[in-house]
């Protein structure tokens, strides 16, 4: 019963928050209307999204987001330096193959998004059985080091969030 009324609890919270931000004021009226929208939209769209993405430890998301934001800041400066001061001849673009431990599609999506957002690497393709990720690195001397870094730094944490 509860799962029919509230198919995606996190989506409900997100929708209410987005509505309040869109209206750009926090009054009782907007919050109530946001909550009503947040309750109705997941019910109306539940038929198109039957599975629930299960976070087992959602609170770890916050620490992960802070880590990723910090990495984006640091790595952006690094890439800016590469772009501005390194000649094209000295640059060594590489393909990196990452074998995945993650199995859930949501988790893989999140890992791919993180890899693309942290500069220097872009996730390009997934193998057909969804067990390997192809990543392009802008300037890497050692593809194995990049792979180990990604597996250590991001995949382990995403695994903790989802499993």
């Amino acid at each position: 019963m509860l799962s029919r009324l509230l198919p995606h609890p996190l989506l409900t919270i997100l929708l209410s928050l987005v509505w309040c931000l869109l209206v750009n004021e926090i009054k009782l009226g907007t919050v109530v209307f946001g909550v009503i929208l947040g309750l109705l939209i997941p019910i109306a769209t539940a038929a198109y999204w039957p599975d629930r993405p299960m976070f087992s430890r959602p609170w770890k998301m916050i620490g992960y987001m802070v880590l990723v934001l910090w990495d984006i800041l640091v790595a952006n400066v690094v890439v800016a330096m590469i772009v501005l001061f390194k000649s094209n001849k000295n640059m060594r673009p590489q393909w990196v193959v990452i074998p995945l431990d993650l199995r859930k599609p949501e988790a893989i999506t999140m890992l791919a998004g993180t890899i693309t957002l942290t500069p220097g690497t872009v996730s390009a393709d997934l193998s057909e059985d969804g067990r390997t990720l192809l990543v392009h690195a802008l300037d890497a001397d050692d593809p194995d080091a990049v792979r180990d870094d990604i597996k250590q730094r991001y995949e382990r944490r995403i695994k903790e969030i989802f499993e």
Partner: protein, 124 residues
């Protein structure tokens, strides 16, 4: 010309710094787009530098609005939207590149994964 509202010194410094950082990173993104010499490398510069650049400009706008007295938070929404969509469009462009450029010298083929094939970049 509408004059800018008067802020305290500290918030003025913060807003100015954020504006300069934002402009700089946006510019670096486009310089990278023009300078780098192969399609996959070009993908790196704008998808990220521009995201951080626009993010920084949005932060400047938010700090400015708060310091001027009418705080607004919906810049966060634009920022979150850009950060969520940038990897997706980057991934789509990467796939389009791999699809168009397979077997061209511009894009050396990636090493084949052990006993399976890439979903976009396959030799078939």
């Amino acid at each position: 010309m509408i004059s800018l509202s008067d802020l305290g010194t500290i918030s003025e410094i913060i807003v100015s710094a954020l504006l300069v950082i934002g402009g700089f990173f946006t510019l670096v993104g486009s310089i990278g787009l023009l300078k780098l010499d192969n399609s996959m490398s070009r993908l790196h510069a704008p998808t990220k530098a521009s995201t951080l650049g626009v993010g920084s400009l949005l932060m400047a706008s938010m700090v400015y609005a708060f310091a001027a007295g009418d705080g607004s938070l919906h810049e966060v929404l634009v920022m979150a939207f850009l950060f969520v969509t940038a990897p997706i469009s980057g991934n789509f462009i990467a796939k389009a590149n791999m699809h168009r450029l397979r077997n061209k010298p511009d894009l050396p083929p990636p090493p084949p994964p052990p006993d399976h094939v890439w979903s976009t970049y396959s030799e078939k």
